[in-house]
């Protein structure tokens, strides 16, 4: 088996005159936490959209788990084993927490029991139980997702993406807007999740978090890849310091 689960080659997408992602290429290794960082508007979410099948690339290729998945749509990507969460919480707000997870977990039944009562989908229901426990949402299971606190919604967002039991999980700023404690818990959780069966691709604004848990970091700037390497290598890179760390520090002090 190839050590790299995801290979991105020369990927580009334009929105009108703006090139949001410009010939970006990198590899993510199986079982690793690979992170993408960069300032606002660097093209991180666009890169996620390209990989997860939300939008089609104009140039370049995406190779996932030994297959060329360029141009796959979202449904095909989930079937291939790649699932994602969203930067802007994207849940079924009018449905209960349990139902949000059950809908997502239904995928692992592979179409079985579609016309039987939901209780009969044992695999899916067990998966929901597991996730409620792991994401500390058990006590909120019957609450509507729209009534959860922001932190809980962000947790549910990750849990929903995880429900289909993917080989790779794309997390787009999972800790956005979270309190410090929630952020720390999420950091620990992401670290725990990464395993031989689950590789993680992370977009995150919190540089400290990224540096703590990542095996590999890709830095983007204005649609282009600026640098990549281990957290230490990236931190030491003068170009990265100029373009990114300076700015973030500035923000932190503002």
């Amino acid at each position: 088996m190839d050590k790299a689960i995801l290979k991105v080659e020369e990927l580009s997408v334009r929105f009108g005159a703006l090139t949001a992602v410009k010939r970006v290429g990198f590899e993510a290794q199986r079982g690793h936490i690979t992170s993408v960082i960069g300032p606002n508007g660097a093209g991180k979410s666009s890169l996620f959209n390209l990989i997860s099948g939300a939008i089609r690339p104009m140039e370049g290729r995406v190779l996932f788990d030994g297959r060329d998945t360029t141009g796959f749509n979202a449904v095909q990507m989930v079937s291939a084993g790649l699932s994602r969460s969203f930067q802007i919480t994207n849940l079924f707000f009018e449905l209960s927490v349990h139902e949000n997870l059950r809908l997502a977990a239904q995928f692992i039944e592979h179409g079985r029991g579609l016309f039987l009562p939901t209780q009969r989908s044992r695999l899916a229901n067990n998966r929901v139980d597991e996730l409620l426990e792991r994401f500390a949402l058990r006590s909120r299971a019957d609450e509507l997702a729209g009534y959860l606190s922001h932190g809980e919604q962000r947790r549910l967002e990750i849990a929903t993406a995880l429900a289909c039991n993917p080989k790779m999980l794309l997390l787009d700023e999972p800790t956005q807007g979270m309190s410090l404690t929630d952020t720390q818990e999420t950091e620990a959780l992401i670290k725990e999740l990464a395993s031989d069966d689950l590789s993680i691709l992370l977009v995150e604004h919190d540089v400290e978090l990224v540096m703590n848990i990542s095996d590999h970091v890709v830095v983007m700037h204005q649609g282009e890849k600026l640098a990549e390497g281990t957290p230490l290598e990236v931190r030491a890179n003068p170009q990265v310091q100029a373009a990114y760390f300076g700015e973030v520090r500035g923000h932190a002090h503002a």
Binding site: N73, A74, N90, S96, R102, L103, Q106, L114, F115, Y147
Partner: protein, 339 residues
């Protein structure tokens, strides 16, 4: 938001079941009384309400459950009505065969229309569905072989069982009631399955469903075909009741009335649309006997209901019943959910 979107554990579903039992119980009592006093007019009218209730259920499946606004659902209703009329005029067959033929053929028509309409979203879907019905109704209106603007008259009764036919008011009312109960039970069952829940999810947030690995197009198309089949089979009962069909059955008035029945009754509740159809079919007829401007009266009434009860009559009653039940049990459970 449809009531089925609430947590499965919620009391809401129970009060809806109660209201459903009440509906079918009232219908049976009505049939008994009307038969005893030999009131053919009201039996026929109630049968018509059931038939339009079937159309309303098909609209609710799309509008209230899946989140698609079908402005031309009368297309399938009218198709079923014409198909049944033609079969009954040309062959002597039992009602079961007629309904089976209409069920399958309107599903097929639904598949063709769905392939055209389902790719579009929101208002575009609504307009394409509207356009399809307009085109087909105009074609029927101008086709001499289908009786053109006169439609087909003199449709004979259909045999249900030896000795029982659609010509007997009580028998046919009970037959229509049974048919509606069947359709209602089927849809109610589907809402408890992953298939039905997936439709609800599409209404709630279609974009996300794709990222859960489900092909939303397939779910929407299948719901559309099922709705077409329900509408077509309901329509097939129409010529058996009235003895004729006309192009008006496909006109926007019929589609629009069905949507009003659904909204007044309670979108997404399934039982609400049946209450809505019963109430408004009755009202249209009663008001219509006093004034030719009954559409005006219905229109004003529709506005009042929408303003006072935006979730419709059942959408208003069901949560209220729940709260009453909960207070009776002395528990204070998430009041916020009702709002």
């Amino acid at each position: 938001m449809g009531e089925f979107s609430r947590p499965a554990s919620s009391k809401q579903i129970n009060s809806l079941r109660l209201l459903a039992v009440l509906f079918f119980a009232i219908s049976c009592v009505f049939a008994f009384i009307a038969t005893v006093v030999e009131d053919v007019f009201f039996l026929r009218l109630a049968t018509e309400a059931m038939i339009f209730g079937g159309l309303a259920l098909s609209v609710d499946l799309l509008l209230g459950i899946t989140g698609l606004l079908p402005l031309g659902q009368a297309l399938f209703f009218g198709f079923g009505a014409y198909a049944a009329a033609l079969i009954l005029k040309n062959w002597t067959v039992s009602i079961w065969l007629v309904l089976l033929a209409c069920m399958l053929s309107s599903a097929l028509v639904g598949l063709v229309a769905g392939l055209i309409a389902i790719r579009s979203k929101g208002v575009y879907f609504a307009l394409i569905s509207f356009g399809l019905a307009q085109v087909v109704s105009k074609i029927v209106f101008n086709t001499v072989e289908l009786g053109a603007s006169d439609g087909i008259i003199g449709v004979p009764n259909a045999q249900i069982l030896p000795g029982l036919s659609s010509g007997q008011p009580t028998v046919f009312f009970l037959f229509a009631l049974m048919f509606i109960a069947l359709v209602y039970s089927l849809l109610n069952y589907l809402m408890k399955t992953p298939y039905g829940r997936q439709l609800i999810a599409i209404k709630a947030n279609e974009h996300r469903v794709a990222f859960l690995g489900f092909n939303t197009w397939r779910f929407k198309l299948s719901a559309f075909v099922l709705a077409a089949s329900i509408a077509g089979t309901s329509g097939a009962l129409y010529p058996m009741l009235r003895g004729f069909v006309s192009p008006e059955l496909m006109f926007f008035q019929v589609s629009g009335n069905a949507i009003i029945n659904v909204i007044v009754g309670g979108t997404g509740t399934l039982i609400g649309p049946l209450y809505g159809s019963a109430l408004l079919t009755g009202l249209r007829s009663v008001v219509g006997s006093f004034t030719p401007h009954h559409q005006l009266v219905i229109g004003v009434l529709f506005m009042i209901v929408v303003i006072l009860f935006p979730r419709g009559i059942i959408g208003y009653l069901a949560p209220m019943l729940d709260r009453r039940c909960q207070k009776g049990q002395g528990t204070v459970q998430q009041e916020a959910r009702g709002g």
